[in-house]
Amino acid sequence: MSQRTPRELGQYAQEWARERLQPAALQTAESRYGDASDHERIRLANFGLTTMLDCEARVTASTGFDGWDVLKATRWLAVRSLHRYLSDDGVTNVQRAVRSTMANTIDDAAPDSEFIDGWLKQQPPGVRALLAARSSGWVASLLETVRDADLEAEALKPPPVDGPPMRFYYPGRALMIEARVDGLYGRKNIKGPSAETLLLTVTAPAFVDAILDFEGTAATLASGVAPGFVAAVMPKLGQVHKVAVDTAMIERGLALCERLADLELRSIDGRGATGVARSASFFGCRSCPLSETCSTREEAEAKSTVFGGLQPNP
């Protein structure tokens, strides 16, 4: 079989997604995603994926978005600051880009802390300073890792934060797949080999292959045209892991979507975590709603892996 063009791969992905995700989609509301209530719709995105890769059972206990915190706000602020830094409006300093983004956000803030602007405005000075530091560090890490990996840093473009979000809506049903992109790089082509690369920051290198499969597939579904590559920027390791988007990746990505959709449905239709694989982890279990009744957690605590295989000495 000859290799598909980016456009053909996009069409293939969308057709294949409609078929494979149909069983899950039919369980959701027969409406647009935005019109359905939380209990009738499914959103497949990065957070659910990384949770699933860590422990499938935890996805079934997911309670959805539980408000803003420093971790979530860091990326929100960082992506918009990167946008400002890379745009042509004269901000050539990362710190200044973060500060002006934060100041503008607070100036335009609604009083409600349910939204990021209102939440930011309510934060005390110490929290805002930490948030600015973490966000500017996030931007600097992305820029440095890209530069050190010999990608041309000047060709880096910001992600589309103000443009159309990278989402794929299942036709006629309340199921949505969302791609998370932190930067774009290289030229797009729809008819031949595309140099367009989607960059995303990955802090869990153990899951990097699956994350790239999911994000490459989600971005392809969203735009209908496959990017040439997806690349994980891993600041902790100082590495960039870049892979081509091809038919095999789309199939692996859709298998992940299918599994995640089934797990998300379980939290809606009452099947819960029965019969779902459990995997204990030191941090994951601490924040898991199932932890009180989960036998895997007890086993994990009894195992020596908590200290990297070392047993405390009496």
Binding site: D69, V70, N93, V94, Q95, R96, Q123, P124, P125, G126, V127, A129, L130, A132, A133, R134, S136, G137, V139, A140, S141, L143, E144, R147, D148, P205, K236, L237, G238, R286, S304, T305, F307, G308, G309, L310, Q311, P312, N313, P314
Partner: protein, 306 residues
């Protein structure tokens, strides 16, 4: 410049001139990485560790502790730090970060504590603070305010050209990912757009200690392996006199850190591969604070030596 005027900002001005002047080349870094990798690959191969226990984790703190005494390192695993010490450390870390962000004026202790609570809500010190009575809070405030003020003073004057990355985790994988060395720097400062401008900052809530120098060497090594070039310096900020210690990164520093990393990793590989084996004891000054001191045969040797 008198000692009293030294701040993190003034140290960075001096270091700025050294950006790009390191004599340690990219080829040297690769030689070092390959030498460490070769030694650790051999050690992991020989140990035949249960795959479910891989990767062998070698965090910075464990390098120091196993080289001091493997038996104490294991005994310390189950222990918990005193809440007030945890709170002091967290206050110092957050005070350093907010001061490095060049605020218009220093923050009050309560703002620093809000910062600690936001990034580390499960910190046992913060939990203690929340549960404390009004009188206890006043006592803690009296203890922590001078610490927060001193650290903010020392970390002031940093130009906006520097980006501050708080609690930055660096990792280096060896033996095909079967051994993972990690360290978390209190702050990593760099100038975006200027390669080789990294400065690692370690913040201490007390006086400087000889172990801090060995820690600094290890930070230098991991940062070098992460980026492919050596950082400008490792800066330790503390409450003693001097309040700032600057360790320039040379080839000797990196090679010394590599030897320590390999030695500590070999001990840890043995411990993970043979969990039932008795960990070796090594007497030293650390015996006085060791949880095993009541029943450890080495304690008497340490007392004799002292």
């Amino acid at each position: 410049m008198s000692t009293a005027e030294v701040t993190l900002g003034s140290v960075l001005v001096e270091l700025d001139e050294a950006i790009g002047t390191s004599a340690y080349t990219a080829a040297d870094v690769e030689d070092l990485r390959s030498s460490i990798d070769q030694q650790l690959t051999e050690a992991v191969d020989v140990a035949a560790i249960d795959p479910s226990l891989l990767p062998v984790r070698v965090p910075k703190g464990r390098v120091t502790s196993v080289l001091a005494c493997p038996a104490k390192a294991l005994a310390d695993l189950g222990g918990q730090i005193e809440p007030i010490h945890s709170l002091r450390g967290a206050v110092a870390d957050v005070a350093a970060v907010v001061a490095s962000m060049s605020p218009r004026k220093p923050l009050e202790l309560i703002d620093v504590l809000e910062g600690v609570a936001a990034i580390d809500p499960e910190n046992i010190g913060i939990e203690m603070w929340r549960a404390s009575s009004r009188e206890e809070k006043a006592e803690f405030t009296e203890q922590l305010t001078p610490l927060s003020a001193a650290i903010q003073r020392t970390c002031s004057g940093v130009s906006l050209d520097w980006v501050v990355r708080p609690q930055f985790t660096s990792q280096a994988a060896f033996a095909g990912g079967r051994l993972l060395a990690t360290a978390r720097y209190d702050m990593l400062l760099t100038q975006p757009g200027r390669p080789r401008s990294g400065v690692v900052v370690e913040v201490k809530a007390g006086d400087a200690h000889s172990d801090h120098r060995a820690d600094a060497f290890l930070y230098a090594l991991l940062e070098t392996l992460r980026t492919g070039y050596s950082p400008l310096a490792i800066v330790t900020v503390c409450t003693g006199d001097p309040a700032i210690l600057v360790e320039k990164v040379t080839g000797g520093v990196l090679e010394s850190a590599a030897r320590r990393l390999v030695a500590a990793s070999r001990i840890l590989i043995d411990m993970v591969a043979n969990p039932r084996a008795e960990a070796p004891e090594q007497p030293g000054p650390h015996c006085t604070v060791c949880p095993r001191r009541t029943h450890c045969s080495s304690v008497s040797l340490a007392v004799d030596a002292s």
